[in-house]
Point group: C2
Chain length 426, copies 2
């Protein structure tokens, strides 16, 4: 499972593209590669973003070659005139570009299939620096490049994420393992938690670490991850997993999972195994909670829908909330959250329901319930609950944190009743 005991590597990622520097496109590649390289024991040492300019790209490669064990470039390997990476790398390394007949045959076949003519510019994509391999692109036309030379590896990946991700997994990782650069299994064990801060989590995990183990943390909107890794030839895979098990037992219900699964996909999985469905009633999250469920492929098996009721009239007409309840307690109240959840169960005919109502800001709020106050409701065959949380931050942060908090609450309640069922059954 885990077998990453090699010495630390120096890894450089170069993202090429004017749009990344002009504030036009988010550099999602760095996030994705950061996680997926670290998992293979190759955390990124440094990253550079440059324009679609052959001289700039060549300068970065020249300066970096020799100092890094692995260089990964993204973008600039397509057929258009602003695709400069392939030629710039060859120039920087003093290598000639050579055609790869198999890549050309694959490209001609693909173009014939979609009825497009092959131009000279298209064929330029089938060249690689002398001694490099051309990497098949299962989702697009631009092949990647893998070069291993003087004990160093250089990888060129295409710009579109849809093409980059499968090429990295299918073509690059096996080759990096083949040359002993990436480790065979996972490089660390990640324990994902919710509801415990990074500081108390560290107080739990630190004393459990054995010799030769390192610890790092990641936090994202309430989720706190502890990553336990081996330093050099320190700890074995089994020892790391053993620590993860102890952390899981120590954090109790705050334990979410080991690995990288998101809260929504875990709740969908729980519901699938129970063969139950869920419906939502949303006010301040405004559809973001429904979107978290529907981002999970196959969610339609368990997700009935969401009544996004921003206006009070909509809460009454769609969810059947009595006008008197809103008049007496207000639309942002524990009572309204509970009524929204039971209303969702009735209207959607689901087994469970989750509801959210609150003040996301910048307007709204009262002295007792300022901006950031959110009431959650949960209805299931056993009854109805509601709870109040106060979330700091702007509109986007309040929405996102309310989504994660409600998903985590549902995960806990589903787990809790399952655990108790087991105890009663024993």
């Amino acid at each position: 499972m885990i077998s990453c005991t090699h010495r630390p590597r120096q890894v450089l990622v170069i993202n090429v593209g004017d749009e990344l520097l002009d504030g036009i496109r988010e550099n999602g590649h760095l996030l994705w590669l950061g996680e997926n390289l670290a998992r293979r024991g190759l955390p990124i040492t440094r990253s550079v973003i440059v324009r679609d300019d052959a001289a700039e790209i060549a300068r970065e490669i020249s300066a970096a070659w020799g100092a890094y064990d692995l260089i990964v470039t993204t973008g600039g390997i397509g057929p258009t005139s602003d695709d400069q990476t392939r030629g710039a790398v060859a120039t920087a390394l003093g290598l000639k570009l050579e055609p790869v007949p198999a890549a050309e045959a694959a490209l001609r076949e693909r173009f014939q299939l979609i009825g497009r003519k092959v131009s000279a510019a298209d064929l330029g994509q089938c060249y690689v620096p002398a001694g490099a391999e051309s990497l098949p692109n299962s989702r697009g036309t631009a092949p990647g490049v893998f070069l291993h030379r003087d004990g160093k590896a250089l990888v060129m990946l295409p710009g579109p994420a849809l093409e980059l991700h499968p090429m990295f997994e299918e073509q690059v990782v096996p080759r990096l393992r083949g040359v002993g650069c990436a480790c065979e299994g996972e490089a660390y064990v990640q324990v994902r938690t919710f509801g415990i801060g990074a500081v108390p989590l560290e107080e739990i995990v630190r004393p459990l670490l054995g010799p030769g183990m390192a610890l790092s943390f990641g936090t994202h909107t309430g989720v706190v991850d502890a990553r336990i890794s081996s330093t050099g030839s320190g700890a074995t895979a089994e020892q790391l997993c053993d620590v993860a098990r102890k952390v899981r037992d120590a954090v109790g219900h705050d334990f979410v999972c080991t690995g990288h699964a998101c809260l929504a996909s875990l709740v969908v999985e729980q519901l699938r195994s129970l063969e139950k469905t869920v419906a939502l009633a949303e006010s301040c999250t405004g559809g973001l909670l429904a979107n978290a469920f529907t981002d999970v492929p196959g969610a339609s098996k368990v997700f009935a829908g969401s009544a996004v009721c921003y206006a009070n009239d909509a809460k009454m007409s769609l969810l059947g909330i009595p006008e008197s309840l809103i008049a007496q307690h207000g639309a942002v109240s524990a009572e309204c959250a509970a009524a929204m959840a039971t209303g969702a169960i009735e209207k959607f005919g689901s087994d469970y329901a989750l509801s959210v109502t609150g003040y996301a800001g910048p307007g709204g709020g009262t002295e007792a319930d300022p901006v950031g106050t959110v009431y959650l409701g949960y209805a299931c065959p056993a009854g109805v609950w509601s709870r109040r949380v106060v979330i700091p931050g702007d509109r986007f942060q309040v929405k996102q944190r309310a989504v994660n908090t409600s998903l985590d609450w549902m995960r806990r309640l589903l787990n809790k009743y399952r655990v108790e069922d087991l105890i009663h059954g024993a």
Copy 2:
């Protein structure tokens, strides 16, 4: 309005933080700074991301100082031991760190207000390299730093976006203008379009350009932006605006706006000026369309809500779609989209309604309507329309593109009827 006629500047952005390289946090700063620097005539030349390591930061600063007109760092200026930027920059430039009494007074006052004790580490944030200014942080404790030396500027900004954005706008931009680094107004005119590709748009814009004007493009999920800027001391502000007006007239209904407003905020604005409301009925977008509306502050004035009906039963019970309609035409059909839109108007009591139903994938789809097929519905007092679009890409891309396409469609229909009203009235 536009007065950016200075020579091109060399701009380097250095983002500091392990979490940016380990795949834990998206580097949103680069996107934000990229846009907001370019608007001031300071497009980013190159960007580097380094770990929380004083030696690494100092190495980048040493290598870059002198070669760039402006260096901006983000992160690493807080009070904890992994905040290394302040000291590393001083070391690299051979400057002593000196305390700033006004910054210390502000920090002590802030801490007293929130009842927290001031530690020596907290006070470390009030030091700047000799000759630099300390920049007040209106949203947090870590002050920024502004250094102008030998005709070059260096700016240190805090890591949290909530603190970085106002500090950049309120403290940094005026100082960059003061030293003649940033231009006084906007550096370019941006024409935002939807429905026209970048290639045909370029064919329209290119012949309209005058001498000393440059053109670049940005595309994001159907939105295509043309940015018209002045090269060096080429064109005047009025000349750029004049070209933008001609582009607007030439692209017709595909013209969205000049500037940076998102589609949802424009539709919200249109509805506010009409004093009308909208409701949604969503299937495959699964709440993402509602979320686009509710991301706009003040949307509650015009946004009634959304019936996210993933299950067919929900379409019947919440929106009153007849079972026979779904049986005859299917839930993914022009007929169902139209019925969803009229159902939303009825249930929410809104003036307008927008609906989306389709196959987002990876599962689903038929031979006639493969994955990516989406039907949109639109209902208003004048009648009901539906249209079919086919969107390439994965689940996330289909959802996002369906959201933008439906928002753009509503924008057009609202505009169209207003334009015609004017003609009839004339």
